[in-house]
């Protein structure tokens, strides 16, 4: 039996070992977050309560921009999730199926390489490829309101496909082989094994990837800024919450930044992500765990 003294020692060790990470997290995540919320209640140095938020939600121009940025983010997320996840799943299933044999490592690396590139380069290359002037597509994909955002989303999907792929790949590998063998003995086809056994078993990972995509798209900024700047067009059709925040906080062109309004925008984004994630974990993810074998 463990003595009281050794328990206390263990506790002390626990505190000691978590302290650096905890300090890092408090200083670089929690403190700036609270600071942001704090300055969103001010205008210059005057306390104004919820006035900044009221302005963002009720001013004719500001509220339109906020609403559209939110809707564009939803579009960004839905396209990214509905294309990236099935694609990553297919590739992970192929890589683990044994059909590619010794080329597994090669393909895994190849598919992961784009994730390591800089977004600026990815944006630049894709812009040239699909440019009607210099490239191979004879349609102004980035210049039409209807196609601009889906196009940028797909560039981003192309770039980051490797990340969910690696997640799903390792999840598929960890499925005990005796389950698969038992199914095969029972006469199940490869497809049936994939849909009835493998996918249900990795459902929690699929859930995690979905929520990570949600967080990643609602924090999205870089590729849009790299391609279209701080006032992303055409006619604001690629403006998302991230670029709206950047423009509000730092300014763009002749628009001068307002740090307090910017902080209020950042707070709104934070709560959108927080609520989305919380709802997801409270409902979907918990159920997924229960259904696990």
């Amino acid at each position: 039996m463990r003595s009281k003294a050794s328990t206390r020692k263990r506790h002390r060790q626990l505190v000691l070992f978590t302290a650096p990470a905890l300090a890092f997290f408090l200083i670089f995540a929690v403190f700036p977050l609270l600071g942001t919320i704090y300055i969103s209640f001010f205008q210059e140095t005057v306390f104004v309560g919820l006035k900044n938020f009221k302005f963002l939600f009720t001013d004719e121009n500001a509220s339109t921009r906020l609403l559209y940025a939110f809707l564009h983010n939803c579009e960004f997320f839905l396209i990214a999730a509905s294309v990236q996840l099935p694609l990553a799943l297919c590739m992970a299933a192929l890589l683990t199926s044994g059909r590619v044999r010794r080329m597994t490592g090669f393909y895994r690396t190849l598919l992961f390489i784009p994730s390591t590139l800089s977004v600026v380069i990815v944006g630049f290359i894709w812009r040239l490829i699909i440019s009607p002037l210099w490239g191979i597509v004879d349609y102004p994909l980035l210049g039409e309101k209807a196609t601009a955002l889906p196009t940028i989303t797909l560039m981003s999907v192309w770039q980051y496909l490797g990340i969910p792929l690696v997640f799903l790949y390792s999840a598929l590998l960890s499925i005990p082989s005796n389950i698969i063998e038992a199914a095969r003995v029972d006469g199940a086809s490869d497809m049936r094994i994939l849909f009835r056994i493998k996918i249900p078993l990795i459902a929690p990972q699929i859930g995690i990837i979905t929520i990570l995509t949600f967080i990643w798209t609602f924090n999205g900024f870089d590729i849009i800024y790299a391609l279209n700047g701080g006032m992303p067009g055409p006619d604001y059709s690629t403006d998302v919450l991230g670029t709206l925040f950047y423009r509000t906080f730092f300014g763009w062109g002749a628009d001068q930044g307002n740090q307090n309004l910017g902080a209020a925008t950042a707070t709104i984004i934070f709560f959108i992500i927080l609520i989305g994630t919380a709802v997801y974990f409270a409902t979907v993810q918990r159920r997924l765990k229960v259904s696990q074998l």
């Binding site: 980035l142 210049g143 800024y225 790299a226 002749a254 001068q256």
Partner: protein, 426 residues
Amino acid sequence: MKIKKASLVFAMSMSLIVPTSLVATSAQAAPITLTIESWRADDSKFWKETLIPMYEKANPGVKIVWAPTPSNEYDSALSLRIKGKTGGDVIMCRPYGLTKTLIKNKNLIPLTGLPGLENFTTQSMQSWADAKSVPYCVPSASVGAGFYYNKDIFKELKLTPPKTQAEFIAVLEAIKKNGKYTPLAAAGASADSWALDQMGLELVGPYYWKGDAGGKALDDGTRKATDPEYVAAFNALASWKPYLPKAFSTINYTDAEQLFILGRAAILVEGSWSVKEIAPPGKNVGVFGAPVAKAGDKPYVQVLADHGFGVNSASPNQAAAKKLLTWFTTKEFAQAYANGLPGFFPLSKEKISIDNKMAQAWLNLRDGAIVTAPIGMDKMNTGTPNFFSVINNILNVMLTTKKTGAEAAADLQKSLESWYPPQKKK
């Protein structure tokens, strides 16, 4: 004036470089260091190799650091640095906009009585003066917009530079019919939509809204954007539509320049600031101004005060900074500037000779024309939203979709009524 697209990464690295270069120079102690804030990163070589050595040689004990920020980020970055008291000693002033805000917040010192200021007209000072006409910046350069044309293509198709709107359309139509060349290259990508304002509406419009009078009437709210003179201006710009490059909405500023440089486009709408890139010596390129409606009408030419220099009120070296500004008013500086940066024209009253023939051709566009400043810059360009961001977007939409000039004017009026008090519905 040319706004280069810069990545966030670049902005970050710039902000890292600037402070370290400050540390490096102040470590040598003794001499006074003056830092110049600017958005003209393109001119760095000229400043570092010509202007700064010129001044430092004549003024031992003064060290000048040229610290540019990418143009699109200049306003926000400078505002933050000024708020944090880390701004440079000498500040490159934007016309109107940010400069007016800095003046209001007392971030610049008044330059009343600065020797040499008498070399400038009151008109060239107004974009950086307060309501009482007290100057805060030394005007240093103006730019203009117009059309470059490829002389070889014009010769091949037997065309002459147009003077009237009808001739202009006829020339464009002839090039289009020939089918070999894009008639008119311009930037239609939304990120470069500022170009459609400065080198589009502000280029062809003054003739219709009668120059400064039209600008003032819009500022005061006595006229609306939907009044015929403004609608006519929008229509003149919209008349370009059939002649713009294919997939116009994706053509960015550099693409448009490339189309013209490669000889694939016959005409390019551009600014005088790109003389060096578009018309290097040996290129057979000419220039013409905005077309008028009737032959014999006096043309209007847009003269945009591009930049000036002021002194940061938080600077510890104000006396030395003022002395540098005095040098900026001299003929010596204006002459060096005009030849070092062709296409940027000194605002000084002194007689300046310009070596670059193309730059001189740009300057000649002003002969016999009525000089005017762009509309919307003075009163409507502070705050969010502002005239600049609104008009850029409206013009981009007009030229890339089926929107007509009248609809675009209506969009502008609707927007102005929502945020610009003098235009609000009574």
